[in-house]
């Protein structure tokens, strides 16, 4: 291992995170290299100075404070309401979009189709003056004979 490689892995070595083989190689290098030893010493000083920070005291009442805040909160079941509301809102948007689309196409889903029979065609034609149809002829076809 050369100095460049050692410097790159020195922090992991200090943290005890190197594998056995690389750690042994790095240790061997450190025995013969004063600058790298100094670098390791500098890293140790950084970590030591960080650990020297005054510890943070947690007030004895802290856990009880959180427990009382927990008891003051609504139960989990109530928290489902917003998500249910979102789902319903999405469903309504989807349904209204579908209905709007249908009305834009002018095809209501169940519009009844008129049944055309031969007698209605004859009647319409006579009313419009296109054909001179006798009443007896109409009676003949109005007996339920449908054009296919």
């Amino acid at each position: 291992m050369n100095c460049k490689k050692v410097r790159m892995r020195l922090s992991a070595f200090q943290d005890g995170e190197l594998g056995l083989q690389p750690a042994r190689q790095l240790k061997q290098h450190l025995e013969n290299c004063a600058p790298c030893r100094a670098e390791l010493e500098a890293l140790n000083q950084v970590v030591d100075s960080m650990k020297c920070m005054s510890p943070i005291a947690v007030e004895p009442a802290f856990p009880a404070l959180i427990m009382s805040a927990l008891q003051a909160r609504p139960q989990r079941g109530f928290r489902l309401l917003p998500s249910l509301a979102y789902t319903l809102a999405l469903l309504m948007i989807f349904v209204s979009g579908f209905l709007l689309e249908m009305s834009a196409n002018g095809q209501p889903p169940s519009a009844p189709q008129p049944v055309m029979t031969f007698s209605t065609v004859l009647t319409e034609s006579r009313n419009l003056g296109l054909l001179a149809v006798q009443d007896s002829t109409l009676e003949l076809f109005s007996g339920g004979l449908h054009e296919n």
């Binding site: 920070m53 005054s54 510890p55 947690v58 802290f62």
Partner: protein, 201 residues
Amino acid sequence: MNPDMPNDDAIITSVLEGRTADFEILIKRYSAKIITFISSMTADRDEARSIAQDVFLKIYQNLPYYKKQNNFSAFIFKIAKNMTLNWLNRQKRTVFFSRLLGREFNQPQFRQAPAQTLDPEAAERDEKINRSLRSLPEDQRIALILKVYLELSYKQIQEISGWSIPKIETLISRAKSRMKKNISLQENNATFVLKARKNEL
């Protein structure tokens, strides 16, 4: 940990079965670590306590989603990390909009424990370390704090952050180098100021 004490997963099972008071054991077990982590990230001990409270409420709320694999510590630090980063982002936005509106935003200095508990030398030392920590990029700061203050392994840091082990190694290595430079720079500045004062006298 005391061997007679139930492990985290056993406590969580008990809480989920309705013995909610057992959650207090988890709060006692982790509150100091959580507050240390948040305080080191935010450099504000009062705010850290307030964020820690929200973290524990969120943990409680998310207990049903915890998969019991003896990694509760990763689960809670992930929540703590996300909530702290959210707080830091809100702070950044406040600073940005304050400047945009031409108002002066006074970023709080590192807030210590009550003054009577700290001697001035210790307070100065803490301030120096915190100033150096604050100057690190967020990802380097998270990795270094989890390693040095919470003494987590790279594997545990990976579980919390989702970063790869080589990335964690690089982040911590760079963070230590930067801290080294920052601390020595501050010491040089302090020596320079001392010399200047002596010359004035």
